[in-house]
Amino acid sequence: MAHRIGFHFHPGSSPLHRWDARCKFFAMMALTIGLFKMQFAGLTLFTLVMVLGFAASRLPLKPFLRDCRTWAYLLSAIFLLQALFHPSADHVWTSSIPLTWTGLELATLTCWRLLLVLCFATLFTFTTRPKDLQDAITWLLGPIPFIPARRVALMVSLMLRFLPLIMDQADEVRMAMKSRLGTERKNPLRKIKGMALPIFRKSLARADELALALSARGYREDLPLQLPPVPGKHLLPTLALALLVLCSTPLVTEAIAGKLPPWF
């Protein structure tokens, strides 16, 4: 659909679009692992990096923010669970309300990290051609024995290809429900059931068709991968980003700055 940004590739000529998919993939892995180790300072720094990345890739902000609304529900639920059920004693109000300062801090950190991971994933899929990603995964997994690299790569690229379609399908079902006043239902379980059944049915049918279409077009896994060597200048930003991630994790920052408060 024309109005969705999340997990769609958009052709472009920005530096991020031109960055070799293998290097970008490594950078993305380093980022994802690093983000889960970072505290407030690191997350602030990488929020800035994310903003720069968005600007460099010319990702349209308005549709992106619209997509974010869907994530907001999930993140809100995670925030509430973390904030309310953390077993600490520093209550914000009284002990009868299970909201603690530690819980709030942890919930903020978790949601911030998840949001950044989602933003970087959007940026990655926005600037990486699915075929390039597929080749990058095949190249990466190729040397590992007993792993069907091409099949795994195909599955990843198909997942990325079909996720937006499933989301579009969900939109279509939501509209069909709304037109029959299904959104007026008070019971959330009935609402979920109404949404889930048609989406699952369509997704499974589509998966069947896809398997048949792949066979019909002679899909095979034994084709050799033809990729040029990784250009040196593409490695530099990957190394720089990996270094930045490493320096932003508490282990390194603590080592450099000595003893620091735990929230840093």
Partner: protein, 248 residues
């Protein structure tokens, strides 16, 4: 009954899907909106019941602006989607047709009556307890129509109702639509396949590139179809009189 005033719709990425559309749909009218794929037909009709709200301009249903009261439009305008599988929510035919009336908060006797009546109208009473996923394409489309009819809207909107249907399926669905029009419903239908329905419509509107190019009686519009990338009906190509798909 429905008035579109200077309707504009833009997707969030800035693509203009509809440009300055003015259109009036009268009570009891059978309006065919045709245009090639991607011309904006579906986006246009989704404004009629408030599923989409205009970026500028307004859509007025029975004097009520959809932007101020979308629920009113949802009750007055029933929509049958192009893909029946997206619309079918219930496990059985009966359960699915009852979905709309249940959402309207009706009591069980009223729901039963409405579902039975809707199933009678589309000739699916015998399949009431059948699983929806076991139905044929034409039957699914008729379940979708029954699901909308059970909500008793005054206006029925059909989005490409003949897509992916065989000849029998097309005639069955067309028969239902023509009968509903004869019963007094206002019908709005989108299609790029004009031939199947043109014999029964009162007015044709051509949408092309998000613009409403022309509206008028079929005899006036049919000669213009090909210039907008829509295949004219066979009978017009051979210079013959209008032929209905329901005539054996």
């Amino acid at each position: 009954m429905i008035r579109l005033e200077n309707l504009q719709y833009k997707y969030a990425d800035g693509t203009t899907a509809l440009k300055s559309i003015h259109l009036e749909i009268q009570k009891g009218e059978f309006l065919l909106i045709c245009g090639p794929n991607g011309s904006g037909k579906t986006t246009l009709i989704r404004h009629l019941n408030g599923l989409l709200l205009p970026s500028s301009g307004r859509v007025v249903v029975d004097g009520v602006d959809t932007a101020t009261n979308a629920k009113h439009a949802l009750k007055r305008v029933g929509m049958v989607f192009q893909d029946a599988d997206s619309q079918i929510i219930g496990e059985t035919v009966w359960e699915d047709v009852a979905f709309g009336p249940e959402n309207m908060g009706l009591d069980s006797t009223e729901i039963q009556e409405r579902v039975d009546h809707a199933l009678d109208l589309v000739g699916l009473q015998a399949l009431a307890q059948k699983s929806c996923h076991l139905l044929s394409g034409g039957e699914k489309r008729r379940v979708a129509i029954a699901g909308v009819l059970a909500m008793q809207p005054a206006i029925l909107v059909f989005d490409e109702p003949f897509a992916n249907l065989d000849y029998l399926g097309v005639t069955q669905v067309l028969q239902q639509i023509v009968r509903l029009h004869a019963m007094g419903h206002t019908i709005v239908m989108t299609t790029h396949d004009v031939e199947k329905v043109v014999a029964h419509v009162d007015t044709i509107a051509i949408v092309h590139g998000g613009e409403l190019k022309t509206v008028g009686f079929p005899e006036k519009i049919i000669p213009q179809l090909s210039q907008y990338g829509i295949r004219p009906p066979c009978f017009s190509l051979f210079g013959e009189k209008t032929v209905s798909w329901l005539t054996e």
